[in-house]
């Protein structure tokens, strides 16, 4: 394993951009996921990557239908796909979060509907349009193989904006998420802060889906915060430990996938699942041991 890691971080390693992008997604996605877990809208983390994929498929379809000119190179193609992903994700997150705040209807039902409908439309749009099918299938499988320098730079730039925004406005995001009524009595623009927070989450998800696919994006948004939560005492710790778990597992997952010749994305998510199970049992065992010790002392 050590030699694989050494090879992965060697500057001459052919897939070095893929390693870098895995690391970025691993570190940054959980920072957005923390808020989805705390606001109890975990399902949004499932539905949004699917909506993002639908946006990408739609962008490809627009070219197929001749509504927008065909992309001449892969950079142009990715730019169009990125635009589709961002527009669809932000629109969906805006509508779903507004309805969630108003508390009308069944949130889970609505989010589930968005998930299946977006999934179905992605497939229908791709079937109709073989133009984008090849790249899209790679993306859906989560094969982080060919990542260009431009993709890496765009992802790094977008994630830098996300990190700065999340840490700069941490107290505002916490206040409007934890106690909306208190925020209103303090004359905070709750809708504005909510829109910024969900905008940032939408950006993380759409950029991640564009680079690593919906499965991996969802895995890294949700599993690291769920793994970290029982072991953290405060919000900062929760954000940092979640991000750390994501980053470490991204590297480890890449190494395992590389060694065993497996697709990177599913390997990452499968390993996160194993870690979640280990952490859950570990935490239960620790609680049981503490209780036994207390009973003995009592």
């Amino acid at each position: 394993m050590l030699s694989t890691l050494r090879e992965m971080f060697d500057p001459s390693f052919l897939s070095r951009n893929s390693v870098a992008i895995s690391l970025l997604v691993g570190f940054v996605c959980p920072l957005a996921g923390v808020y989805l877990v705390l606001r109890r809208v975990v399902f949004l983390g499932v539905a949004l990557p699917q909506v993002s994929s639908c946006g990408i498929a739609f962008a490809f379809a627009l070219q197929g239908w001749g509504w927008i000119p065909h992309a001449h190179d892969s950079a142009e193609e990715r730019a169009i796909a990125m635009a589709g992903s961002i527009v669809f994700t932000l629109a969906a997150i805006l509508v779903l979060s507004t309805l969630e705040r108003r508390g009308r209807g069944m949130i889970e039902g609505r989010t589930g509907t968005v998930y299946v409908v977006a999934g179905a439309w992605s497939i229908l749009l791709l079937v109709q349009n073989p133009f984008g099918e090849h790249g899209m299938l790679e993306l859906l499988r989560g094969e982080i193989v060919a990542v260009s320098n431009t993709d890496l730079l765009i992802t790094a730039g977008a994630f830098l904006v996300v990190i700065i925004t999340l840490f700069t406005f941490q107290k505002e995001f916490l206040l409007v998420s934890f106690d909306r009524e208190m925020a209103l009595t303090l004359r905070k623009n709750v809708l504005g802060w909510d829109a910024l927070l969900f905008g940032v989450i939408g950006l993380v998800i759409s950029v991640s889906v564009m680079t690593v696919g919906p499965l991996v994006a969802f895995g890294f948004v949700l599993l690291p915060p769920l793994i970290a939560y029982p072991f953290c005492r405060n919000m900062l710790q929760f954000a940092l430990v979640s991000s750390g778990v994501g980053g470490v597992m991204a590297v480890f997952g890449f190494a395992v996938a590389y060694q065993q010749e497996l697709p990177v994305g599913p390997t990452d998510v499968a390993l996160l699942g194993v870690l979640y199970a280990v952490a859950w049992f570990g935490q239960k065992a620790a609680v049981a041991m503490r209780q036994r010790r207390r009973a003995r002392a009592g």
């Binding site: 877990v37 109890r40 406005f169 934890f178 009524e181 919000m235």
Partner: protein, 239 residues
């Protein structure tokens, strides 16, 4: 003298989603008073409170708050503690610091002065030793103290409490009410408190606002909380 009032409701209609709960209210709360807001379940106490606080927009009329600074928020709000989700990993100190958010600009960190003020508020409410504890792990009475500390951290002119003694044991209820009485006395703070506990209100409130079947009665504690009056209003015999 209108200047004696910190809060005045003018022809105020409150409700949710255009559904009227209370209609055309006319009320005034004296500056420096301790007022209890009572009424049966569903009488509109919490809706009225939230409208006064600006959480729910009024359906008609006006809420006039006569605060010394029009720009700085000076309302201390103690919500029902069950409304706060225990999933958040918030320490008592972080909780109280939230009260200072109205004075700290977005993106700025809390200054040392604000942090010291938050610690003082915790000590003031007898919750100094809870500073590092997680809010969700506290008992009902301890949570109430921390929430009052957070409300005080806003440096309020009007302290508004939504059933602060609901669901806590007798000893904690006595302690919370004693704390509120002391804060009201020492800081000359105007207090508006929703409470079901009539004996508790008799002990600490000076004025009472009684919501009953869409009507509002306002008067002194002696006037409204007399046993025979309360029984007549509620249409039952109090034990």
């Amino acid at each position: 003298m209108t200047d004696d009032f910190i809060l005045q409701l003018r022809n105020l209609t409150v409700g949710y989603d255009r559904q009227v709960v209370l209609k055309e209210l006319e009320l005034r709360v004296k500056r420096g008073s301790f007022t209890g807001l009572v009424g049966s379940n569903g009488s509109g106490k919490s809706t009225l409170l939230k409208t006064i606080l600006g959480i729910i927009p009024p359906l008609g009329g006006r809420v006039d708050l006569r605060l010394s600074s029009p720009t700085l928020p000076a309302l201390g709000y103690v919500p029902q503690r069950e409304s706060l989700d225990p999933i958040f990993l918030v320490s008592c100190f972080e909780m109280v610091l939230m009260g200072a958010c109205g004075r700290v600009k977005p993106g700025r960190r809390f200054s040392t002065t604000e942090k010291e003020w938050a610690r003082r508020c915790l000590q003031e409410t007898g919750a100094g030793e809870l500073e590092r504890r997680r809010f969700s792990e506290l008992s009902g009475g301890q949570k109430q103290r921390v929430l009052i500390a957070r409300a005080l951290a806003t440096r309020p002119e009007l302290l508004v409490l939504d059933e602060p003694t609901a669901g806590i044991d007798t000893a904690a209820t006595v302690a919370v009410l004693e704390l509120l009485r002391r804060v009201h006395r020492e800081q000359q703070l105007t207090v508006l408190m929703v409470n079901h506990d009539l004996p508790a209100l008799r002990e600490c409130a000076e004025e009472v606002i009684w919501l009953h079947q869409g009507k509002v009665l306002q008067g002194s504690v002696e006037e409204l909380l007399r046993r025979d009056r309360a029984e007549a209003l509620l249409g039952l015999q109090l034990e």
